[in-house]
């Protein structure tokens, strides 16, 4: 029978212990991501408000007419031109609403492809080094959604690039001005880009009444359903304090009046032939509400956003340019 002396016994035990420690380290590594965020302090929950636009530029522009591309061009022109937002060499990300692969653009569940393409063209015209378009669909494959929404084809035609959002790039990002959340799992490229353009389609929504620019940003986190629980408005605003688009373009060429966010019946779709643009996400959303016969007072997220300094709901005080096209 073999005997084990003390030295060998200790060596073996050390080896075992080392193996166990390595395994434990691996396991903790595997389980380290995610998890609920600790409660934030609740101090300093407001952010710096949007700056005033340069002289001669409208604070908010609304273009109405038949051709989506022209609506985008004219509304951006009224804001002082795309050059106000995009400088030569900039890395631009456009974030439309591509929530599902189940609906063609006519159903107004996803952003109008012509609107997105017009923005890509404008940005490239201003000398952007790269224009990427992305969203994180909650239903269906991402490539399928890009393609069924018509956005992939339109963007490719305009010279932009669709990016499938890679899981690894959603990382915990501190939310220093968060009320509920102390961090958000944000797609890092969104934060790294020079310019972020938020392009929601105006839709009815069961909890937040409407989906507009602020709620559209739920597509830059990989755990959007966790935002739909208690105090949803404040959670969405917490995310908006972390991710602040430089430009918001609300696509209201078609709007979805009911059964949002995915619809599915053309009876729920209304053609409103409108594009709203502003650097102020709260103002853009407030104006968007009027297309549904509502005001900012009806939208809890917009209210909360205004309270937290993201922008203004007081449309009467703003320089709004309405452009018939």
């Amino acid at each position: 029978m073999d005997t084990i002396d003390r030295r060998r016994f200790i060596e073996k035990m050390l080896a075992l212990g080392g193996g166990a420690a390595a395994a434990a380290a691996l396991m903790s590594l595997a389980g380290c991501s995610g998890g609920p965020s600790p409660a934030p302090t609740g101090e300093n929950i407001t952010v710096a408000p949007p700056s005033a636009p340069p002289a001669g530029a409208a604070y908010l522009a609304v273009a109405r007419g038949e051709h989506p591309e022209a609506l985008v061009q004219r509304s951006i022109a009224a804001l002082g031109g795309i050059e106000r937002f995009v400088k030569p060499g900039n890395d631009v990300i456009i974030k439309p609403n591509i929530c599902t692969s189940n609906r063609a653009p006519e159903y107004a569940a996803t952003t109008n492809p012509e609107v997105v393409a017009a923005l890509v063209t404008l940005c490239l015209g201003a000398g952007a080094a790269r224009v990427r378009v992305m969203d994180y669909p909650f239903s269906g494959g991402h490539e399928e959604a890009y393609s069924s929404s018509g956005i992939a084809e339109a963007v490719a035609g305009a010279g932009g690039r669709m990016e499938v959002m890679a899981g690894m790039k959603f990382q915990d990002t501190p939310a220093p001005h968060g009320l509920i959340l102390s961090s958000c799992r944000v797609y890092q490229e969104i934060l790294d880009a020079d310019v972020l353009i938020d392009v929601p389609i105006a839709k009815q929504h069961g909890n937040t009444v409407l989906t507009l620019g602020m709620k559209n940003l739920l597509g830059v986190v990989d755990n959007p359903s966790s935002y739909h629980t208690a105090q949803m408005s404040e959670r969405v605003v917490d995310l908006n304090t972390v991710v602040r688009p430089h430009l918001v373009v609300v696509d209201a060429v078609r709007i979805l009046l009911n059964n949002g966010p995915t619809g599915g019946s053309l009876n729920d779709v209304k053609r409103t032939n409108t594009v709203i643009a502003s650097h102020d996400i709260v103002a853009a959303d407030s104006y968007g509400a009027t297309l549904f016969g509502k005001t900012a007072a009806d939208l809890p997220i917009v209210q909360a956003g205004a309270r937290r300094g993201l922008g203004t709901t007081d449309l009467g005080s703003l320089n709004i340019e309405e452009i018939p096209v």
Binding site: S101, G141, M168, F170, Q171, S225, A230, S265
Partner: protein, 499 residues
């Protein structure tokens, strides 16, 4: 040759899993597998398309013998590569245990005649496909996904990770996917097969494999057989010791049992005296039951029949009612009689809704496809499982049929649902419902909350007549752990389910 076939098998499996599409049909090997075709035809009492290529395999076996096992079978190749050479049989005699595989084969076929394909889980092609597709690749993907996420924190690695991720996703791996924990059992089975392989090379093929049994029976009358030139033979026992399936009997002039010989040709090439060759033979081989008593043979058949009957009994007693969430359009009966447990649907489902079910109360349901909505939902516009199923156990539906095929019905657990139990709004399930006329409605209810304040809460309510049970609501329910809305395989009110 072996490596090529295994590479083809892996390519079909991996590309299909990643959603990349395949040049050849992904279910090619299940068509080539005569056992799958034969037993599904028996069980469904109908002619199954997969039989055709399987007949080809059978015809080749009739001509060449059991060559499939050492030239084509991907599991056999894996076992060849993982056997420990030095442990090869020193006795140089075939073991009587080799006859067990004929009992396994009969059990599969008897089960099929009785209307269950439950024992097809023993088919070697399904074993390997299922294990890799449901047990191994998702595990690799989990490790890759977690690893990428963790490494992405280091700025210096981001460029590399970006390129790596772009290359891997959609070619070798799909996007991030969940791991269905019960699939670990598949790994245990494979581990057992590999462990046995260490005791005896190709333990599985020699003693247990029902497909090997079927091909072994066919090769008893095959035209090409191994023969030993007794004048040249030096009785060195080399061939008997090294035969990977132990087919050669050192005490019977080094002849081999044609039902066991897999024509690997190692003995032909390795014989120092060049005494071994393959020759044409027209007489069928006599059954070789040496070492077995009549009582053993009859006893094992009796036990087998009793076992199959016991296996079949629970589902017969319980009738054909729905007990699991099945892929869209397939009924419990389709699954029992047509499903060959191959795991093609599990492997191809892009939203990872389908997983191999555990046995549950009906033992013969083991590893049939079942939906697990918490892990993955059935995408409203996707029909891939029905298109991929080689036996029609999941019917190929049109998009309109698929979008109205009822998988189950969602029910709200009001003790967990946030608006129901906490008087706080949450409408994720309603928002997610993909139907144009949503199957989940919100009802405004005036409540008095804990602080004594009158407030209105929007509570989700399921309309069972609309719900098709796609499970997107259950999948996306924001609660941790079990969802507060769950899909059950029950009938919607006043509506027939399945086909």
């Amino acid at each position: 040759m072996q490596a090529l076939v295994l590479a083809l098998f892996l390519y079909l499996l991996v590309a299909d899993h990643a959603g990349a599409g395949t040049v050849l049909p992904a279910d090619l090997f299940f068509h080539l597998d005569p056992l799958a075709g034969l037993s599904s035809s028996l069980a469904s009492r109908s002619f199954m398309a997969p039989v055709l290529l399987g007949l080809l395999t059978l015809a080749l076996t009739l001509a060449l013998g059991r060559a499939w096992c050492s030239w084509a079978c991907p599991l056999g190749t894996l076992l060849d590569w993982t056997s420990l050479r030095r442990l090869r049989h020193p006795r140089g005699r075939p073991s009587p245990w080799r006859h067990v595989k004929y009992v396994t084969l009969l059990a599969v076929l008897v089960g099929a005649v009785l209307g269950t394909l439950g024992l097809l889980v023993l088919d070697p092609i399904t074993i390997l496909f299922r294990t890799l597709g449901s047990g191994v690749i998702p595990g690799i993907n989990l490790a890759v996904t977690r690893g990428e996420s963790w490494l992405y924190r280091f700025d210096a690695l981001q460029g590399f990770l970006d390129g790596f991720d772009r290359f891997v996703r959609g070619t070798l791996l799909p996007g991030a996917e969940p791991y269905f924990v019960p699939s670990l059992a598949l790994l245990l089975v494979m581990a057992a097969i590999l462990a046995a392989n260490a005791i005896r090379p190709r333990f599985w093929c020699r003693y247990l494999c029902p497909l090997g049994g079927l091909l072994g029976l066919a090769s008893r009358v095959s035209l090409l057989r191994r023969s030993v030139d007794q004048e040249k033979c030096s009785r060195c026992r080399k061939c008997a010791r090294e035969c990977p399936v132990g087919a050669i009997d050192s005490e019977k002039e080094y002849r081999s049992d044609p039902g066991e010989c897999t024509l690997c040709l190692r003995c032909v090439e390795g014989c120092p005296a060049h005494a071994i060759a393959l020759r044409r033979e027209t007489r069928p081989a006599a059954p070789d039951l040496e070492g077995l008593t009549r009582r053993q043979v009859l006893g094992s058949f009796g036990l087998m029949l009793a076992g199959v009957a016991l296996l079949r009994l629970p589902s017969v007693l319980r009738g054909s009612g729905r007990r699991r969430l099945r892929p869209p359009g397939s009924s419990e009966d389709d699954i029992m009689r047509r499903c060959i447990r191959c795991g093609i649907c599990v492997n191809i489902c892009p939203t990872r809704a389908i997983h191999p079910a555990g046995p549950g109360p009906d033992y013969d349901h083991l590893w049939t496809p079942a939906l697990v909505p918490r892990l993955g939902y059935c995408d409203y516009s996707c029909r891939r499982c029905g298109e991929a199923c080689p036996t029609g156990a999941i019917p190929a539906l049109t998009l309109a049929e698929k979008q109205s095929a009822v998988i189950g019905t969602a029910r709200i657990d009001t003790t967990r649902c946030i608006p129901w139990s906490q008087n706080t709004n949450c409408i994720v399930c309603q928002e997610m419902c993909p139907l144009a006329e949503k199957a989940i409605e919100l009802e405004d209810v005036a409540v008095t909350n804990g602080e004594g304040l009158e407030t209105t809460v929007r509570r989700p309510v399921v309309l069972p007549d609309r719900c098709i049970g796609c499970g997107l609501c259950e999948h996306q329910c924001p609660l941790n752990g079990e969802a507060a809305i769950r899909v059950y395989p029950e009938e919607g009110q006043g509506r027939r389910q399945g086909r």
